[in-house]
């Protein structure tokens, strides 16, 4: 057991290798919860590096980065000869290289399609309700989205129209959250760009629904409560507009922080074993990280629910004037 822990430790920190220093705890944590582009390993070890090379080549093929120069870099304490390419940014802003996080998003998309397209066919085929547990489980979740997220925030006619969007949001975030809990994969929703992207949809939805349902002048008339004195209007309007911007921002930060915090805690608990190199700490930290993992399983669901529920509330509130 001690040997195993030392082995893992040497793997993580590579204490014996002189060319590279030990990774600090900060480095380890950050490398687990942040996105970074794939390198090209000149001498790849293992499946993950081979896979990384494949993605690197794909990026080259798609023209997302230029051929870079070979450098030697320390990764997890080992010196590697890698090729680091400079991104070719679209419009000078968007670095569209396919990263681990992008792959995770695609995996979530793929899983959603894999689950729900056959599911729709099965449900349509059996109008009296399927006896399959698999179908009933997803049906219960869809019912949950309908009853607890969409129905309370939309009137009946609109609820039916809004269902597909909120089902997409809920299950996309849910799948992304749970993918992050599988060891070796990454939490795409633990990134401000991803959660910000999702929140932009909410913001766009608020504006679009407000404009469609209440007319283009909605932004001046719809968001301030009716019946306020004329002068108060000039005070309230900027506040309400600010509120509209802040709401998606809060969504962004909430999902990001919730999905990241748990992972950081789990990594730190595991790292404690490497730090102390002791059985007792090992038992304690592994069981504690397991408890946090259980908590994360719960948080992953709750955050998907909260994000979707608040989106529904925000978008639903712009259907009618206040």
């Amino acid at each position: 057991m001690v040997r195993f822990v030392q082995f893992v430790n040497s793997f993580v920190t590579s204490a014996g290798n002189t060319a590279c220093g030990e990774d600090s705890m900060y480095d380890i944590v950050i490398s687990h919860v942040t996105d970074k582009p794939f390198h090209y390993f000149v001498n790849p070890h293992g499946i993950s590096q081979l896979f990384g090379n494949m993605i690197f080549k794909l990026n080259t093929f798609l023209g997302f980065h230029s051929e870079g120069s070979a450098v030697t870099e320390c990764l997890h304490g080992h010196p590697y000869e890698i090729i680091e390419a400079t991104p070719i940014k679209l419009f000078g802003i968007f670095d569209l290289r396919i990263t681990k996080w992008v792959l995770m998003l695609w995996l979530a998309l793929f899983l959603c399609a894999l689950v729900f397209i056959p599911l729709a066919r099965k449900i349509k085929k059996s109008p009296m309700g399927s006896s399959s547990r698999w179908v009933n489980m997803w049906e219960a979740l869809i019912g949950f989205v309908h009853d607890d997220i969409v129905e309370p925030n939309f009137e009946h006619g609109y609820a039916k129209k809004a269902m597909p969007y909120f089902l997409s949001v809920f299950f996309f975030i849910l799948f992304a959250n749970y993918l992050g809990l599988i060891p070796g994969l990454a939490t795409s929703t633990g990134n401000l760009a991803v959660t910000g992207g999702m929140a932009l949809f909410t913001l766009f939805g608020m504006f679009a629904i407000g404009t469609i349902m209440q007319g283009p002048l909605w932004i001046f008339t719809g968001i301030v409560p009716k019946g306020v004195p004329f002068l108060m209007y000039f005070l309230l309007w900027p506040i309400e507009v600010m509120g509209m911007i802040i709401k998606p921002f809060a969504l962004t930060v909430r999902l990001f922080a919730n999905m990241t915090a748990g992972h950081i805690v789990i990594i730190i608990f595991i790292y404690l074993v490497m730090m102390f190199q002791s059985y007792l700490v090992g038992v304690g930290s592994v069981s504690l990280s397991l408890i946090i993992y259980m908590l994360e399983l719960l948080v992953a669901f709750i955050q998907a629910y909260i994000f979707t529920s608040l989106s529904a509330m925000f978008i639903g509130s712009s259907v009618h004037a206040h």
């Binding site: 950050i30 919860v33 998003l105 695609w106 397209i117 401000l192 910000g196």
Partner: protein, 169 residues
Amino acid sequence: MEVIQEGLLKVEPGLLLWTIITFIVLLLILWKAAWKPLVEALDARAEKVRGDIENADRSRQEAEKLLAQHKIMMDNARNEAAKFIADSRAEAEKLKNDIIEKAGADAEMLADRARKEISLAKDRALGEIKAEIVNLSTDIAAKIINKNLNPNDQKALVEETLNKVRTVQ
């Protein structure tokens, strides 16, 4: 500004764009292929279940109404039957009493007639006896007259005659 360019809080515009593209693709694919048929199927089922429940409710109310009607009919029938039985019993009782009364009256009449016949027969017998007595007395008187009798013989003869008469009577 540095904080969103590096580290944990980095906002990578490329990733943001990828998120938007991925989500739009997800929306387009699932909206057409999954959510629309799914929501329609579930709505149709919910509608059907609601209809079924309403139908069941209506049927139950109807059944209850029918049951109440049946109960009333049953009660009526039972009352009628009870009344019928009571009527029949009263009639039978009356009939029985009539028959007994009539039988009693008949018996009385028969007894009366028997009694009358007996008394008639007795009267007739008494008349015959009286005629016999007259004959006997005549015979006795003839015998007394024909024969010279001592007092003892006379006495014996009278007694003998009287005995005859008694036995006849």
